[in-house]
């Protein structure tokens, strides 16, 4: 069964460093998402991406964050200068075109900023 894959599964980084989280969405999907979940808290929407541009973003997704689809398969989230409060599980998701579709989530990348 096709699945969304994320790498790495766990990343530790120093405060102020840049990190790139990588995702390979399901191949025929057209909408891509990043969500985050701070430990013990709710799953929060960061950004959606469609047709090579951001379609929607939350207030969390400030100038420190960026997304890119550098080739036909990868979808990345970059955090330019990490802060302690960026420590969270980051989930990538994708879905097919159309409105009657569910999002498929990856296993997540646990980001720890020290």
């Amino acid at each position: 069964e096709p699945e969304v894959t994320q790498t790495p599964s766990h990343q530790v980084t120093q405060m102020g460093q840049e990190v790139i989280l990588r995702c390979v969405p399901i191949s025929n999907h057209l909408y891509f998402y990043w969500y985050r979940q701070i430990l013990g808290q709710k799953v929060e929407f960061l950004v959606s991406f469609y047709n090579n541009e951001i379609s929607e973003k939350s207030e969390i997704f400030d100038d420190q964050f960026s997304v890119e689809r550098p080739d036909g398969s990868n979808f990345t989230l970059k955090i330019r200068s990490t802060k302690l409060e960026d420590s969270a599980m980051y989930f990538c998701a994708s879905r097919m075109d159309g409105v009657n579709t569910e999002a498929f989530f990856g296993q997540g990348t646990r980001l720890t900023v020290v």
Binding site: K42, V43, E44, S48, Y50, S55, T101, E102, A103, G106
Partner: protein, 116 residues
């Protein structure tokens, strides 16, 4: 604004007992509703979804959910809980035609503990 509420933060049931997890939504358009499950340290797995039609939907692992428009609810049920069902359960509402959004909105989750 769209929102999803899961009133129960924690629920504890005995193995073999029945389960109902509550979910209420606030959504201007026709809602597309989902339940996801998250085992510790794992990703989000889709249990079931409701788009239209029969208001009682069946999912994986023996779960079902009932959509009640009059109550703005989409409660998850299982007749007999297994120890392996211990996890966190998230209700979510997804983008629908005319909603003006692309995002899925999640509730705060209900953590299920199963007693042997």
């Amino acid at each position: 604004a769209q929102s999803v509420t899961q009133p129960d933060i924690h629920i504890t049931v005995s193995e073999g007992a029945s389960l109902e997890l509550r979910c209420n939504y606030s959504y201007g358009a026709t809602p597309y509703l989902f339940w996801y499950v998250q085992s510790p340290g794992q990703g989000l797995q889709l249990l079931l979804k409701y788009f239209s039609g029969d208001t009682l939907v069946q999912g994986i692992k023996g779960f079902e959910a009932e959509f009640k428009r009059s109550q703005s609810s989409f409660n998850l049920r299982k007749p007999s809980v297994h120890w392996s069902d211990a996890a966190e359960y998230f209700c979510a509402v997804g983008p629908s035609l005319g909603s003006g959004t692309y995002k899925y909105i999640f509730g705060t989750g209900t953590r299920l503990k199963v007693l042997a």
